[in-house]
């Protein structure tokens, strides 16, 4: 029985190691599920926003590096826009879903995490800080986001993504109001 018990413990340990967020890509929430949770059973069809000109400059100022793809898709319904964006924490991209409701963040969720440490940013005690956040004139968040020890780079990455999502949402609303 002892032998069986120790084998079970070893198997449990092995499972814990394999499923540890620190090893490889960890899908916390499938992007399709994120959209379904954000918009209900039938999410809207995606739209495309080109990241060019002033928008690209502004995105690159926030990120501190190239904006990457020339266009990004978003989902929009009744004043809410959802964005699935990626930003590197230390070495690997963090896939993040962000819902913006009339210029304020309604939800931010870590969808796929690939870094070896810093996965604590997925937890609501951290992500809830973004709820209601808006951009000020300097394109900074209107509030301070408390960091997490050992997850500084992931915290910064998520903060940058929140600012980018708010900026892109503003561009979408600008385009709609000018039509």
């Amino acid at each position: 029985m002892d032998s069986m018990g120790s084998k079970m413990q070893l198997a449990a340990l092995a499972l814990a190691i394999v499923s540890s967020p620190g090893l490889g890509a960890e899908v916390y929430l499938a992007p399709e599920k994120f959209l379904a949770e954000s918009f209900g059973a039938s999410p809207p069809k995606p739209s495309i926003l080109w990241i060019a000109g002033d928008t690209r400059d502004a995105v690159e100022r926030i990120l501190g590096h190239s904006a990457g793809a020339l266009r990004v898709r978003y989902w929009s319904q009744e004043g809410r826009t959802a964005w699935i964006l990626e930003e590197t924490g230390k070495t690997e991209p963090i896939t993040t879903g962000i819902v913006v409701d009339r210029g304020a963040i309604a939800r931010i969720s870590v969808l796929v995490y690939r870094e070896s440490r810093g996965w604590e940013v997925r937890y609501p005690f951290f992500t809830d800080q973004f709820k209601g956040a808006t951009l000020n004139a300097m394109r900074e968040l209107d509030r301070n986001i408390d960091g997490i020890s050992g997850a500084t780079l992931s915290v910064r990455a998520l903060t940058r993504l929140a600012r980018v999502a708010l900026l892109l949402d503003a561009k979408v609303r600008e385009a709609k109001s000018s039509r």
Binding site: A30, K45, P46, A69
Partner: protein, 279 residues
């Protein structure tokens, strides 16, 4: 009282050098001079050749020429370049190697996942399919868009093109085709020419290798390391320092020999037999 100056004549000098003790000492010195000279000759040649080349490295363009010998690159610690997974798309090659996607030899994006195919369906844009991602690339290797699983009809197994130029993807749920912006996917049942990987041309492989290794190892750098001894590691410069000390010893013993034997026939010691008989 006048000092008495004694100046030895040439014969007296030669007689003094011809004493058994001095002859043995001189002959020993000559033997060691020759041995050290022989041993260090290779290093002298190496230093001379590399020194001349380094002096004119810019003129010869040696700072631009890259070393391509894999064994040398491995010696320098350059990681081995993986053979790329390549797809021919019209006149272009899309390749994936070293966790990067390339259009020709220009990097497009980083991804740890291998593509399953690439086609040109929408104008000049190329579409590269991954199991959980579809990437649109511009002709200048610009990343136009990266669509995740949420924008796809399922896990992509293959990508192809119809006779009419329509893009089709194969998933476990069947074949699907999309509009130009991949907004809506529709089931499809048509003849498809699927994208298949091909071996990249050797010239492209070389360019991809260079792209992965950055500027790599120039011939000038190799010559510098050969000249300084650093090519063999941290102890190389110490070895070259020791060789330099030997060169100094050779110079001193050579000058000494020449000075003491000046005006006389050179002595060529033989390894055996009575050297006196040879004079």
């Amino acid at each position: 009282m006048n000092d008495v100056h004694f100046t030895p004549t040439k014969e007296q000098k030669n007689a003094r050098l011809d004493t058994p003790g001095s002859r043995n000492g001189m002959l020993g010195l000559i033997v060691w001079h020759r041995r050290l000279g022989l041993v260090t000759a290779v290093i002298v040649l190496l230093l001379a050749v590399t020194g001349v080349l380094l002096n004119h490295a810019n003129r010869f363009g040696l700072d631009q020429v890259q070393v391509t010998a894999n064994w040398l690159l491995r010696w320098y610690g350059f990681p081995p370049v993986e053979k790329p997974l390549s797809y021919r798309v019209g006149d272009y090659w899309v390749s994936w190697t070293g966790s990067r996607l390339y259009l020709e030899d220009k990097p497009v994006m980083r991804t740890n996942t291998a593509p399953v195919g690439a086609v040109a369906a929408t104008g000049e844009m190329l579409s590269v399919a991954f199991p959980d991602m579809l990437v649109v690339v511009g002709p200048n290797s610009d990343l136009v868009e990266r669509m995740g699983a949420e924008s796809l009809p399922g896990k992509l197994e293959r990508i192809g093109i119809t006779d009419r130029g329509m893009l089709v993807v194969a998933t476990a749920q069947g074949f699907f085709t999309a509009d130009a912006n991949f907004i809506a996917w529709q089931p499809a049942s048509m003849q498809v020419k699927w994208s298949r990987s091909e071996e990249a041309p050797p010239a492209l492989f070389e360019r991809l290798s260079t792209a992965q290794r950055g500027r790599g190892l120039s011939v000038e750098r190799l010559l510098q390391d050969l000249h300084s001894g650093r090519i063999v590691g941290s102890w190389g410069p110490w070895f070259m320092d020791a060789a330099a000390v030997v060169f100094v010893i050779l110079a001193i013993t050579g000058i000494n020999y020449w000075w003491t034997r000046r005006g006389r026939m050179p002595v060529f010691p033989k390894p055996n037999g009575d050297r006196r008989k040879d004079e």
